[in-house]
C-alpha cells in the first residue's frame, strides 16, 4: 500500500504540453492531452472507485470498478484506460454506475476474507475503502462457491509477507515488478479462477529472482503483500519526508512512524531522483539505526590497548580538545587533521572542514571521496570546468545510446538502474565497458548491444581506441568542438588519438577486446544522436583514474554529447553524500565550491566570515596523513563516520599508521574496525536523527528531516560544535538551516539555496543562484563552465601492478545489491538473508585449473597480504580476472589491495591487484590463522570497562 499521506491519481501524468478542456460531473476541467479520465477527475477532486489502477503504473483496465458514462458514447468505458478528448462530458456517478460497481465489488468480496478488524491493512486497504464508498458492508453472493482462500502465506522474505488469502489478483504487483523495477520476477500463473501471483517458477519470494525492492508491496491495494514491520508494529500515523542514506541516487523517502518508532519507509512519488521507487536497502534496511550495537555513550581511553571507559560528553570532548592542543603545541598545527564523512549531511561536513581550518588552523582535512570519486572532481574540472556530473537522472529517458563504464547500476545504484532499464526496454542501445558480465549486460528484456569485456587497468587504452574510431572515421562533431572548445586543444587531441598506436587493432593486445567490437561501440556511440555516459568506480579507482575521466569528457565533447538532455557525462557516486562532501570544501586544497585555498580573495571571504586567519597551503590527503603518521609528523585525527581499516587499501599499512598516532577521535554509530585504534569515541547519529541536506550524484540537494531524537543525545553537527567550543572556537548555530545560510553566503553555486526554498521546491540541483534561481538540471548548456571545453591528451600508461607467475590473476573489487560499502549498516539488517559473507567470484576455468569447487574455501594472496574466503564459480568473470566485495570485516579483502593510486588525486587502485587463488588443503587451519591475525590486530576487541 502506498504512503498514508499519498493521494493516488490513478494513472501516471501525461507529458504532453497541449491542454484539453472537458466537463466532469458538470465541472469544467483542463488537463494535458493524454490524461486519463480517472486522473482528470482526481485532479478535479473526484476520486473514481478503482482497484487495479495506481499512478505509478500504466492503466490496465481489469477491475471494472472505474466505469463512467460519457455523453454520446455507448456503454460504460473504464476511466483509467480512456483518455480525455476536447469537449468530452463525463459522469462519474449515476444509479446505473453504482449498481454496476456494487456488482463487481460483490464478486471481489465473495473471495476475500471479511475480517477487516484483524487485517494488517485495516484502515488503509483500498478494497475496504471502495466498499465503504459504495456502501457495501457484506457480500450478497451465497457462500460455498469456488475460492482461492486457504493457500499458505509466503513469509520467506525477511521484510514482507505474501498472503494469497487477501490477494484480489489485480496484477498491480506483477506490473510494478515489471514496469517499475524491471526484474520480471512476478507473474500471474493459471487462468480464470486459478489465477495466482507467483514468484519466478513457483519459488518462494526469497528463493526467487525477486530483489526485494518492495515495489510490489507498495502497489498492493490489500494486505496480500504487507511489510512485516507493519504487521508487528501496527499502522503508522505520522509521515516525515526525508532522504535515503545509502547510495548516491538519493531517493526521497517517507518515514512512516507510530509510537513504536519507524514502521516503514515508502518512496516519495514526488521525489525527483527516484519518482516513487526504492531498493531493498532504502526501503527496508533501516534497522541498523536502532540496532543493539549502537554506541550511545562517549568513551575514552589512554592507550589503544586499554579498555574503553564511558564518560560524559564534556569529558570526552575535553579530552579530544586537550589532546589536539597538546599535540599541536609540541609538533605544530599540521600535526593534526580531520576527515569529513560522505554519509553525513552537507551541513555536518561543512562544519568539520570549518572546524579543521578555523579551530585547528590547518588545511589537513579530507573525505572518503578520496578513495572513490576524487578523480571525477579533478578530471571534470580540468576538461569541463565543474567537478560534477552534467545531467539529472531523468535525462536517461532521452538517451538513444547508453554507455556504462565501470559501474554496476543494478547493484550499486538500483533505483537509477531500474530507470535505465526502462529506457533500454523502450529501445535505447546499450554499451557496457566492464571486465565482468554484470547483470545489465543480460537480464530480463535487456541486453547490451556491445559488451567490451576489457582487462582491468586498461580503461585509458580503451577510451583512446573509441576516440580513434570517432576521429579517423569522420564521426566527430567538428563544428561543435570548434565552437565550444579550445581549438588548439581539440586539434592536438585529434592528432593524438588518430595515431595508429591508439587504434582498436593496436590496443587489442592491451585491452583484450576484439577490435571489431571496439569499432562497433564507437560507431554506435557517435551515431547517437543522444549518447550518454554513466561511469563508476571502475573508472576512478585506477592509477589512471583522473586520466580516464578526462578521456570520457574528451569523447563526449568530440561528439557533441554535452549540454542538453539525453547526453552527458554522469558519475554514479557511491555514497549518499559523496557529491555534497566534495562540494562542501572537504578536500585539503579547496574551500566549498571547489576554490583553491591559495586564492587570496576566496580566502579573505572565509577569513572575514570565520574571523580567523586561514592557511593558503594545501593540507594532507588521507594517504599522506598515513605517511606522515609513520614519520611522526602527524599525530592526531578527528574522524567523522569513516572506517579506514576496513575500506582503505593495504590494511597493514593503515593499521601501522593509525597505531602510530597519539589521539584518534572517532565519531560513528558503531565500534567499527577503525575504533580499535581510537582514543576517544563520540557516538554519532543516523540520518533518522537529524536535520540537514544530502547532495546526490545529479547535484540534487534534498532535505534530511529528523524522524526521531538522537539516540546518544546529540546530532553529528552538534558534536562538532561542542568540540570546536572545547577548543576555544565557538560556532553559533541553532539549527542546520543556519549552517546552510552560511554555506549559501560563501559558496557561489549554493547562493540561492535555503531550507525554505528546498521545502517549497522539494529539491534543488546546484548551481542555484541568481542566474538559475531554481537550480540547474543540465550543465554546460550553450557554454562550458570553464568557458571553452578543454581536450586533454590521455596517454595510456600501464599500471605498475602487473601479473606475474606468482600472482597470475587480476583481482577487482566492488559491491553487491544487498550489502553496502563496509557493511556497517547493512550487516546489521536482515539483508544478511541474501548475502552474509564476501565471496570470491572466479571463472570456472580458473577454478578448475586450481582444483577449486564452488563454495570451497580458498586462499587469496597478493604481494601485500593474504586472506581466505569462499569461492563462487561464475561465468560472469573473464578467465584471469577474479572479483570480490569488502562488505565484511572477517574477509579482510583490503589486506590484499595495494598502495598504488591515481597520479593526480591518490585515489587508490582498488580495481587492479595481482593475486593468486589457491585451494586450501586445510581450510580450518587457514581460517584459524587468519582469525588469530585479525584478533591480534584488533586486540583488545573494544571491551568497555
Amino acid at each position: 500500500m502506498y504512503s498514508i499521506d499519498h493521494r493516488d491519481l490513478g494513472t501516471p501524468a501525461s507529458t504532453a504540453t497541449e491542454e484539453v478542456t472537458l466537463e466532469i460531473d458538470g465541472r469544467r476541467v483542463e488537463v494535458p492531452a493524454g490524461t486519463s479520465i480517472m486522473r482528470a477527475a482526481a485532479l478535479a477532486g473526484t476520486q473514481i472507485p478503482k482497484l487495479c489502477a495506481t499512478d505509478t503504473l500504466d492503466a490496465f483496465g481489469s477491475c471494472r470498478l472505474c466505469l463512467v458514462e460519457i455523453e454520446g458514447r455507448r456503454g460504460f468505458p473504464a476511466s483509467c484506460t480512456t483518455t480525455v478528448t476536447p469537449g468530452m462530458k463525463v459522469r462519474t456517478e449515476s444509479p446505473q454506475l453504482l449498481k454496476l460497481r456494487r456488482g463487481v465489488l460483490d464478486l471481489y468480496l465473495s473471495d476475500h476474507p471479511l475480517a477487516c478488524e484483524t487485517c494488517p491493512a485495516d484502515g488503509h486497504c483500498e478494497l475496504q475503502s471502495v466498499a465503504a464508498e459504495l456502501g457495501v458492508t457484506e457480500c450478497s453472493l451465497p457462500s460455498g462457491g469456488a475460492t482461492q482462500r486457504g493457500a499458505a502465506a509466503d513469509v520467506s522474505n525477511p521484510y514482507f509477507a505474501f498472503d494469497p488469502d487477501t490477494c484480489i489478483t489485480c496484477s498491480r504487483c506483477v506490473r510494478a515488478c515489471r514496469d517499475v523495477q524491471g526484474t520480471f520476477a512476478l507473474s500471474i500463473e493459471g487462468r480464470g479462477f486459478e489465477s495466482r501471483v507467483a514468484a519466478s517458477q513457483r519459488e518462494s519470494f526469497l528463493g526467487s529472482e525477486c530483489v526485494s525492492c518492495g515495489a510490489c508491496v507498495e502497489a498492493c491495494p490489500t494486505a496480500a503483500l504487507t511489510e512485516k514491520s507493519r504487521i508487528v508494529q501496527g499502522a503508522p500515523s505520522r509521515v516525515v519526508t526525508t532522504t535515503c542514506a545509502y547510495c548516491g541516487v538519493g531517493c526521497s523517502l517517507k518515514a512512516e512512524t507510530n509510537d513504536t518508532g519507524v514502521v516503514r519507509m515508502v518512496p516519495d512519488r514526488a521525489g525527483a531522483a527516484n519518482h516513487g521507487h526504492a531498493c531493498v536497502k532504502g526501503r527496508f534496511a533501516y534497522g541498523y539505526a536502532t540496532h543493539a550495537d549502537r554506541v550511545l555513550h562517549p568513551m575514552i581511553r589512554e592507550r589503544i590497548t586499554d579498555p574503553w571507559r564511558e564518560v560524559s560528553w564534556d569529558e570526552a570532548l575535553g579530552r579530544a580538545a586537550s589532546e589536539f592542543r597538546r599535540i599541536q603545541s609540541a609538533h605544530g598545527p599540521g600535526a593534526v587533521g580531520g576527515i569529513t564523512s560522505s554519509r553525513c549531511t552537507n551541513e555536518e561536513t561543512f562544519l568539520v572542514q570549518k572546524f579543521v581550518r578555523a579551530a585547528l588552523h590547518t588545511n589537513n582535512v579530507d573525505t572518503c571521496a578520496r578513495v572513490c570519486h576524487s578523480p571525477t572532481g579533478y578530471g571534470l574540472k580540468s576538461t569541463l570546468g565543474e567537478s560534477a556530473g552534467t545531467q539529472n537522472f531523468a535525462s536517461v529517458m532521452h538517451a538513444d545510446v547508453i554507455v556504462v563504464i565501470g559501474a554496476n547500476p543494478t547493484d550499486g545504484h538500483p533505483v537509477f538502474g531500474s530507470q535505465m532499464k526502462r529506457r533500454l526496454r523502450q529501445g535505447a542501445k546499450l554499451i557496457v565497458v566492464d571486465p565482468r558480465a554484470i547483470d545489465i549486460v543480460r537480464s530480463a528484456h535487456v541486453a547490451a548491444d556491445v559488451h567490451l569485456q576489457l582487462r582491468p587497468g586498461t580503461n585509458v587504452a580503451m577510451i583512446n581506441a573509441l576516440a580513434h574510431v570517432v576521429v579517423t572515421e569522420g564521426l566527430a562533431s567538428d563544428a561543435y568542438a570548434e565552437a565550444r572548445c579550445e581549438v588548439d586543444s581539440w586539434r592536438r587531441w585529434k592528432a593524438f588519438v588518430a595515431e595508429p598506436r591508439n587504434s582498436p587493432e593496436a590496443t587489442e593486445a592491451i585491452t583484450s577486446v576484439p577490435a571489431r567490437l571496439t569499432r562497433e561501440a564507437a560507431r554506435l556511440y557517435a551515431a547517437g544522436p543522444n549518447s550518454a555516459i554513466y561511469y563508476g568506480l571502475g573508472v576512478t579507482e585506477h592509477s589512471q583514474g583522473s586520466t580516464m575521466v578526462m578521456g570520457i569528457a574528451n569523447l563526449a565533447m568530440a561528439t557533441g554529447n554535452l549540454g542538453h538532455e539525453g547526453v552527458g557525462v554522469s558519475p554514479l557516486r557511491g555514497q549518499n553524500n559523496v557529491q555534497g562532501s566534495c562540494d562542501m570544501g572537504s578536500f585539503p586544497h579547496e574551500f566549498s565550491g571547489y576554490r583553491h585555498v591559495s586564492d587570496a580573495s576566496t580566502r579573505a571571504l572565509f577569513e572575514n566570515a570565520w574571523q580567523v586567519p586561514l592557511s593558503g597551503e594545501p593540507g594532507l590527503r588521507i594517504p599522506n596523513m598515513f605517511e606522515a603518521a609513520l614519520d611522526g609528523s602527524f599525530r592526531g585525527l578527528y574522524v567523522q563516520g569513516e572506517d579506514f581499516v576496513q575500506s582503505d587499501p593495504n590494511t597493514r599499512h593503515v593499521v601501522a599508521a593509525l597505531s602510530a598516532m597519539e589521539c584518534v577521535v572517532l565519531q560513528d554509530l558503531f565500534l567499527n574496525e577503525t575504533s580499535h585504534y581510537a582514543h576517544v569515541f563520540l557516538p554519532g547519529s543516523s540520518f533518522l536523527e537529524k536535520d540537514g541536506t544530502f547532495t546526490n550524484a545529479e547535484r540534487r540537494i534534498s532535505r534530511v528531516r529528523k524522524v526521531m531524537e538522537p539516540l546518544a543525545g546529540l546530532a553529528d553537527w552538534e558534536i562538532t560544535l561542542r568540540l570546536a567550543q572545547a577548543l576555544g572556537y565557538p560556532m553559533h548555530y541553532g539549527h542546520p538551516a543556519e549552517i546552510m545560510q552560511e554555506i549559501a553566503s560563501l559558496t557561489p553555486t549554493f547562493r540561492g539555496v535555503s531550507y525554505e526554498k528546498l521545502d517549497r521546491l522539494g529539491s534543488i540541483q546546484w548551481p542555484c543562484n541568481d542566474a538559475a534561481p531554481e537550480g540547474t538540471p543540465t550543465m554546460h548548456v550553450g557554454a562550458f563552465v570553464r568557458g571553452k571545453g578543454r581536450f586533454i591528451v590521455t596517454e595510456y600508461v600501464a599500471t605498475p601492478e602487473r601479473t606475474t607467475s606468482r600472482y597470475p590473476l587480476l583481482l577487482t573489487t566492488g559491491r553487491v545489491l544487498f550489502q553496502y560499502n563496509v557493511g556497517a549498516q547493512t550487516r546489521r539488517t536482515a539483508n544478511l538473508a541474501w548475502q552474509s559473507e564476501d565471496r570470491l567470484e572466479i571463472h570456472p576455468d580458473d577454478a578448475e585449473s586450481r582444483g577449486v569447487g564452488d563454495g570451497e574455501w580458498v586462499g587469496l594472496s597478493s604481494r601485500t597480504g593474504d586472506t581466505v574466503m569462499r569461492a563462487m564459480l561464475s561465468k560472469r568473470m573473464t578467465p584471469g580476472v577474479v572479483y570480490t566485495t569488502f562488505h565484511f570485516p572477517e574477509s579482510d579483502a583490503n589486506v590484499v589491495t595495494t598502495e598504488y593510486s591515481d597520479w593526480a588525486t591518490n585515489c587508490p587502485e582498488y580495481k587492479v591487484t595481482a593475486v593468486e587463488v589457491a585451494r586450501l588443503g586445510n581450510p580450518d587451519a587457514w581460517r584459524t590463522r587468519k582469525r588469530d591475525e585479525r584478533a591480534a590486530r584488533t586486540r583488545p576487541a573494544n571491551p568497555v570497562a
Binding site: 586520466t547 583553491h596 609513520l630
Partner: protein
Amino acid sequence: MDIERLVAMANDIATFFASEPDSQAGAEQVENHLRRFWEPRMRTAICRHLSEGGAGLSPLALRGVERLAEWRR
C-alpha cells in the same frame, strides 16, 4: 615522509604531463601540480631529496621539482 613514495608520486605526475607539447610546459605543469596539491612538508621532503641528487626522479619530474625548489626560494 617516505621519500621513495614521494618520488614515485612525482614520477607518476610527470608521466602524465609528458604529453605536453614541450618539456618546458611539462615541467611547469609538474611544478604547478606539486604547488597546488602537495602539502608543504611533502614539498620540503622532495626538494631536500633533489638537493641530495634527486635519485629516482624521472627527467621531467626532476625538472618539475627543480622549478618547485626555485619557487620555494
